[in-house]
């Protein structure tokens, strides 16, 4: 007897968990199908959440009432605000998370979620009914029916693990690969290619000589990953820092012949920004050492994650190289580092709602789309989950554009440009970086979440309050003052005789926060995060206004839809290169078409005309 759901999510990683929870928040009946209930919410690699660009994603997921931020706070054993001396737009909140507590927190949140069931098993086959998604068959023969399926299978599709000359099928160490499903997707003629990534060995912390190492304590702030978390919860641990040296590098060079990265065994491309230590030594041979962070994996776990030394060298080489480093002379490896190579689906086959254009009802999220990282996975999961539910319940989809969020930037990059290496979020990818800050994620996305019905009542109340304070602050800062008045109050601004509002004065370095507060006491009364956010806006206002104009132009073209079946070859005058790129990405709006490399304004006009004519 088949069981009916609205949405089936395959995979219990970061993408799958957010997808299932978001679909359920939207009111869908959801099955979260995964190999093993115990690996739900597992962190495959680094026990850290957030960072530069990634911290933005976490805050955005959180603003849409996602799980990641709250779970990270529940498990955080080390907080650090990266770039804290720079503008808020590039500050990246990051935490070290206790691996098992993180998993427990995710389990807790999923258990509370109404309408969500975790189902154990292997997704064996995708069921199709006249070209539309209709469900999943498990390897035990059972079938689950649903109008929408989200694939969040991570590194498991055609996954192959490498450690030295040893090779094994698998998605993660000790876990099997999703071979059958991978084969089926290839047969469905989806554009599939290979990528690779790697992870460092795990060390037994009890064999590290901590006393000889420099430490980095958790910062002493009070901020949390999710602004909803009232305060930091767990005791905070320090990380330690060691370095590689000439001897380490020599051992690596000597071992290269046994590395699958260099023997040609791995064909997929790895990330430039997360190179293996083999790569680092080869490409940056002139550096005398590389910093390695020793990060504790948990409060009750002796395991330590040596950040910066991802490798797939044979285990004996790994052991020898580790032991050349200060503090690690006696270190024992508990699990060896390895590389994994896997299938991914060319994300240009997806629409901006993360649905496969060729298979209505089938959504993809996370590493399967060519990205890497927990935060990237979670963010896509949330979007795919909401849209899968929207599909199943016949509601409008949630599309986030580049001007709204990092999530929007990432999805747009993926579906329009595709990937050549595992995609990771960077603030440099966001052209509206000055507006898209981690500290204003709630202001930006809260209303979107509300509109799509995925934000709970607590969050909605919080948003109302923040809105109230924001308008109070705006009113107070609209008061205008002359340069003379400002000087009299103690700000040594240039005496140009100009009258400006306090909002405008706020961008002058001579005007201190305390001075502003003396004119606008509400700055002190409002919650500090709201005041901070407003003052940061005021500080960068001229730039924000310029970007506002760019955004207006973007949104205009965003409203012009290109029909899904438009024949680009029929558009007179397009070059072959333009046609190829347009066909691979199938932009659904004129704005999207314009962002594809090499598409000129005249080409856009021609596409528009053609599309309208075809529609008429």
């Amino acid at each position: 007897m088949p069981v009916r759901y609205d949405v089936i999510v395959v995979g219990g990683g970061h993408a799958g968990c957010e997808a299932a929870a978001a679909a359920a928040r939207k009111g869908a009946k959801v099955a979260l199908l995964t190999f093993d209930r115990n690996t739900v919410g597992a962190m495959s690699c680094n026990p850290a959440i957030g960072g530069l660009g990634k911290g933005h994603l976490v805050r955005e997921v959180d603003a849409l009432d996602g799980l990641m931020g709250r779970a990270a706070d529940a498990a955080a054993i080390h907080y650090r605000m990266l770039n804290s001396s720079k503008g808020a737009a590039v500050q990246g909140p990051r935490v070290q998370a206790d691996r098992s507590r993180y998993r427990a927190a995710i389990h807790g949140l999923l258990d509370q979620q109404v309408g969500l069931t975790i189902v154990e098993g292997e997704a064996h086959e995708l069921l199709l009914d006249r070209g539309r998604t209709s469900g999943i068959r498990l390897s035990d023969g059972q079938t689950l029916e649903a109008r929408a399926v989200v694939l969040a299978t991570g590194t498991f599709l055609g996954g192959k693990l490498f450690c030295g000359d040893a090779q094994d099928a698998g998605g993660r160490i000790g876990e099997r690969a999703a071979t059958r499903l991978g084969q089926q997707l290839r047969k469905l003629d989806l554009p599939i290619a290979r990528l690779k990534t790697g992870t460092p060995p795990r060390i037994d912390g009890r064999t590290i000589d901590w006393a000889r190492l420099e430490t980095q304590p958790s910062d002493d702030g009070t901020w949390t990953m999710s602004p909803v978390t009232p305060a930091r919860i767990l005791p905070q641990l320090a990380c330690a820092i060691t370095r590689t040296n000439d001897r380490t590098h020599q051992i690596i060079r000597d071992g290269l012949g046994r590395s699958p990265l260099f023997s040609g065994a791995i064909e997929g491309r790895g990330p430039r920004y997360c190179p293996s230590i083999e790569d680092k030594v080869l490409r940056f041979g002139d550096r005398d050492g590389h910093q390695i962070f020793l990060e504790p994996e948990g409060l009750d776990s002796p395991l330590v994650y040596p950040n910066g030394i991802s490798t797939s060298l044979p285990e004996d080489v790994q052991r020898a190289m580790i032991r050349t480093m200060t503090g690690l002379e006696q270190a024992e490896i508990v699990v060896a580092g390895y590389a994994v190579e896997y299938d991914y689906v060319d994300p240009r086959a997806l629409t901006s709602s993360l649905e496969l254009r060729a298979l209505p009802g089938l959504f993809c999220a996370g590493q399967i789309n060519g990205t890497t990282g927990y935060e990237e996975a979670a963010a896509q999961g949330l979007v795919a989950g909401v849209n899968a539910a929207a599909h199943a319940l016949s509601q409008p989809s949630m599309i986030l554009d580049r001007a709204s969020s990092y999530i929007g930037v990432m999805i747009d990059d993926l579906v329009l440009q595709g990937v050549t290496e595992p995609y990771r979020m960077l603030t440099a990818r966001a052209e509206y970086r000055l507006r898209l800050r981690a500290d204003n994620a709630e202001t930006r996305l809260g209303p979107v979440g509300l509109e799509h019905g995925i934000v709970g009542p607590d969050r909605a109340r919080r948003m109302d309050q923040r809105k109230h304070w924001r308008s109070e602050i705006e009113a107070a800062l609209s008061r205008s003052m002359t340069a003379t008045e400002m000087a009299r109050a103690g700000a040594f601004v240039r005496q140009d005789g100009v009258r400006r509002t306090l909002w405008e004065w706020a961008r002058f370095p001579e005007v201190s926060r305390s001075l502003l507060t003396s004119f606008a006491p509400v700055l002190d009364k409002a919650p500090q995060d709201v005041t901070d956010e407003q003052l940061e806006d005021a500080h960068y206002a001229p730039y924000l206004e310029r970007q506002e104009a760019e955004v207006a132009a973007l949104r205009r073209d965003e409203r012009v839809h290109i029909p899904a079946d438009v024949d680009f070859r029929g558009v007179g005058g397009l070059s072959n290169e333009m046609i190829e790129r347009l066909e691979a990405a199938r932009p659904d709006t004129l704005a999207a078409a314009g962002r594809i490399r090499g598409i000129t304004p005249a080409a856009l006009a021609a596409i528009l005309v053609h599309a309208r004519r075809a529609a008429a």
Binding site: G87, R287, P601
Partner: protein
Amino acid sequence: MTGPLQDTIFALSSGPPPAGIAVLRISGAQAGGAIRTLANRLPPPRMASLALLRDPADGAALDRALILWLPGPGTVTGEDMAEIHCHGGRAVIAAIEAVLDAMPGLRRADAGEFTRRAFEHGRMDLNAVEGLSDLLAAETQNQRRAALSMAEGHFSRRIDAWRERLLALSAMAEAALDFSDEDDVPDAGIENEIGTRLAGLATDIESVLDAPSAERLRDGIRVILAGPPNAGKSTLLNALVGRDAAIVSAIAGTTRDRIEVPAAIDGSAYVFTDTAGLRDDAGDEIEAVGIDRARAAMEAADIILWLGEADAMPRTDAILVAAQSDRLGRDRPGLPVSAHTGEGMSALLAELLERASALLPREGDYALHRRQRILVAQLSDHIEVAREQRDLLIIAEELRLARSRLDELTGQASTEDMLDHLFSGFCIGK
């Protein structure tokens, strides 16, 4: 569906200048405002009327032109439109375009943009649609040609060099923003280092902006003959170009307006302009307009032949000509020239050619077209702002904008290339 934020656009819609008459079209909410600013009034709808157009900045006369005000939606684009039918000389068109461009909310139209707006407002017919693919084909042709000539020229090498330097600096800023937690990425003091290195780039870009433009090569060197009435300007002009181009008469003030005469001498293009005699007590209003224009033209001239008193030279680099030497004698300062006897003509031509050769791009020089020049100027502005900044975030923003100007210039997208620089320059990754 035109939003209030949509720009008003303008473009030359007649054939390439020079021509007898040029038609500039303006479309968008501010079309009427633009006409009012230029002509100081708005004519009744759909009625051509003659108006003296002035530069609102300084009141300088631009041209006497026909203006048309066409309120939407019954127009080609469906928006408010206006047309200016002006004299078809390049200088006139360029001056009017520059004034339009400076008006807030107005900008030059992108290729195909009029068509696109017409289409958006449901006002396009099939002919226009066909026209669009022609335009596209032409654009591709142009790009190919431009790319070819760029590929051979020094300019493209220069641009490539800028691009490399800009990408490296941008990568440095982005690395400090996106990877400040990495050991290999310099952090403190990076702003100063970027500032110093930007200074060199800025100088280099400035020097290209200072170089002669491609328009000079194509349109000719602008030579102005100026001086008081009856100084012999028209006669000299005729002698230089060898035909009766200007109206020559003995009554002061015959040459009421500027007369442009294109001529090729020794394989180079020139445009000689005979201006109204400079008198302060202009005989009538129209002549006064002519004199205004003469002054404006002199400022824009490449070379001035001054036929007046030595101490009244309009620019210190003018060539002082003691004209009518057969009649007025030679004991005056300046180069004695007589158009009648031919005395001094070859010396004058030699002087002209020498000045001109300094102005024309040399073989292998790169000459910027107007579009390129605008982009390079914007590029230069962003780099200037970046240099003055100490906030890394703003520096990075200005460098991003600078990159996007270069992208427009080269047709390449730079974010990925910048990341390549970043990851090959710094050892990043934990």
